[in-house]
């Protein structure tokens, strides 16, 4: 590439990035730091913005949160529900990817299937949650209607009081909303693999299953890890579905970390300080995940994989 004499224009680089940087500082950086500080204070009570640093016992809120059984439950639930959704989601997305990118058996209507599978992803999660809440109604809801009229169960099943059922339903809704997205990402990843590798495999007489496990999967590694971590970050901040589908019921079985934070800060005794401490703990977990993604993307730019 030619050396351009753009050095004299450098000031525009600074000038045009001012809006972004200003907005970032005001709406992102400052609130982040402020949240961190609040974690070390006594700030609580509805609408209270006054606070003092807890000088005697700086980490009181953090200790309090880490020992809080509800917080521990919410963290466990968050991971559990995420895994219950992610493993089937990834399995199905990989299977569909293998089918849709198979070069020997071209499936018709792929465009239609992609559009339909992805559709739930763009629908408001709050609306989806309320909709499924109506679906799993007891004694009369569409699901119980189907279960009884097809003779699968004798009477209506009360999903609302079963911990396991509610966790699986929340996981299912997440699965249902996200497998199409994951599938599209994986398909585009497969299409990005050098076709010569596949041609070489064909010449060597490899079958579809061998090609999938020995060429497609290893070449998708970066995208698979990227999907894993972004899905995990999304899963860690899960709020809309469990909140509006089950509101943590029964017995905190669907309480997630973000719902816990919300409940600490905006209900009961409005413990902004403890909510801030819990937020910071989540922030650290997510930041750790982001670091992994960051290094993955740098790796990709280097073009080594």
């Amino acid at each position: 590439m030619k050396q351009r004499q753009s050095f004299s224009y450098a000031k525009y680089g600074y000038l045009f990035s001012i809006p972004f940087i200003l907005a970032f500082i005001v709406f992102n950086l400052y609130p982040t730091i402020y949240t961190a500080i609040l974690g070390f204070t006594d700030c609580k009570g509805l609408g209270n913005t006054e606070w003092n640093i807890l000088v005697d016992d700086l980490f009181k809120n953090f200790r309090n949160i880490l020992k809080n059984p509800s917080f521990q439950t919410s963290l466990k639930n968050t991971f559990k529900i995420w895994m219950m959704n992610f493993i089937p989601q990834m399995t199905l997305a990989l299977l569909l990817t293998a089918w849709f990118t198979s070069r020997r058996n071209t499936l018709k209507g792929q465009g239609f299937f992609k559009v339909v599978f992805y559709m739930p992803n763009i629908i408001t999660a709050a609306s989806v949650a309320i909709l499924f809440n109506a679906f799993f109604g007891y004694p009369m809801g569409p699901v119980n209607d189907l279960l009884v009229s097809t003779g699968i169960t004798e009477g209506p099943f009360n999903f609302i009081v079963s911990k396991t059922a509610q966790q699986w339903i929340v996981a299912f809704i997440q699965f249902w909303m996200w497998y199409g997205y994951t599938m599209i990402i994986l398909i585009s990843g497969v299409l990005g693999i050098n076709p010569e590798i596949y041609e070489a495999a064909d010449i060597d007489g490899a079958n579809d299953i061998q090609i999938f496990f020995q060429i497609t999967i290893p070449n998708l590694k970066t995208i698979l890890i990227y999907t894993l971590i972004t899905s995990m970050i999304g899963g860690l901040t899960m709020y809309d579905i469990p909140k509006l589908y089950a509101n943590g019921q029964p017995d905190n079985a669907t309480l997630t970390a973000n719902m816990f934070i919300y409940n600490q800060a905006f209900s009961g005794s409005y413990m902004y300080n403890r909510a801030a401490a819990a937020s910071m703990i989540m922030f650290l977990i997510i930041a750790a995940c982001s670091v992994v993604v960051f290094f993955l993307m740098r790796d990709k730019k280097g073009g080594r994989r």
């Binding site: 753009s6 224009y9 045009f16 299937f113 339909v116 739930p120 599209i184 800060a265």
Partner: protein, 282 residues
């Protein structure tokens, strides 16, 4: 040999089509039930919750919202104001920020880009307590600005725009614009933005949908009935007033997602392509 291979293929295709059709039904069916049930009376729904035949209680269900907090018109307008403004800001400023990363060579460019990559993954929910306290202090709760203005700094969108710009903005074009005496800001608005249209359109769709669907921050910041967005309105449907009005619940959910269906089916081709592109680049 050839024959067995062929029948094997057919078996595979049958299985694949059956699974795909099943999944398609699983995707579509809930929304069909939703729309149909919004036209049925609560008595009908209680007798049989699944039906594919619409009834004629749509207006009766709609009348139930009268005088209640769930007001689809207010929610729709509020959501529209927030989503459209935030989308416009995000798309414009993301393009401008990406432009600084591509077109100019400045000392802190590398550091700036690294920072954008770093903060891309941090969801704003985890800093919401500080954000809320800050907005409360400066009296911006029950105001749309805290939901709109942060759009100016959208790291993921900047990242996407940068990748697009690197591939499709010839830097020679900028040089010739300079020779013609075009000012830098004018060049960006009149020459660069038109080239960026496809990327801006894709990002506009995703930003709009994400903003429309957002629940956590709006539900913290907006406590006044007249400021509620559509997702907040929907979340109220779980309340006790509607416990016995099944038809109205379905209708409320239908109304909240109607704009998304229209956007999706008008633009699905671009949306799917956008998802695929985002992943390859990101």
């Amino acid at each position: 040999m050839k024959k067995t291979l062929k029948s094997g293929n057919r078996g595979f295709k049958v299985v694949a089509y059956v699974v795909c059709i099943f999944l398609a039904i699983l995707s579509i069916m809930p929304f069909v039930i939703m729309v149909v049930n919004s036209t049925r009376s609560t008595v009908q729904i209680q007798a049989h919750a699944v039906s594919l035949i619409p009834s004629h209680y749509l207006m009766d269900n709609f009348a139930i919202f009268d005088g209640k907090t769930f007001d689809p018109n207010v929610g729709f307008i509020n959501s529209l104001i927030i989503s459209v403004s935030a989308t416009a800001l995000t798309v414009y400023f993301a393009a401008l920020t990406a432009y600084t990363l591509v077109a100019y060579e400045w000392k802190l460019r590398g550091a700036f880009f690294t920072m954008i990559l770093c903060v891309m993954m941090i969801p704003n929910q985890v800093t919401s307590i500080g954000f809320y306290q800050f907005m409360y202090k400066i009296h911006l709760t029950n105001n749309f600005l805290p939901l709109i203005l942060p759009g100016i700094a959208a790291p993921a969108t900047v990242f996407f725009m940068r990748q697009f710009m690197l591939a499709s903005l010839p830097l020679e074009l900028l040089d010739s614009a300079r020779i013609d005496g075009s000012k830098e800001f004018y060049t960006f608005n009149k020459i660069v933005l038109p080239i960026m249209k496809p990327a801006m359109a894709t990002q506009a769709i995703f930003t709009f949908v994400a903003k429309w669907n957002e629940l956590f921050l709006p539900s913290i910041l907006l406590t006044d009935n007249t400021k509620y967005t559509m997702p907040i309105m929907v979340s109220l449907l779980r309340g006790d007033i509607y416990k016995v009005e099944h038809g109205a619940i379905y209708l409320g959910v239908t109304l909240s997602v109607l704009p998304l269906f229209i956007v999706y089916f008008a633009l699905s081709k671009y949306i799917i392509a956008g998802v695929a592109l985002g992943s390859v680049k990101g």
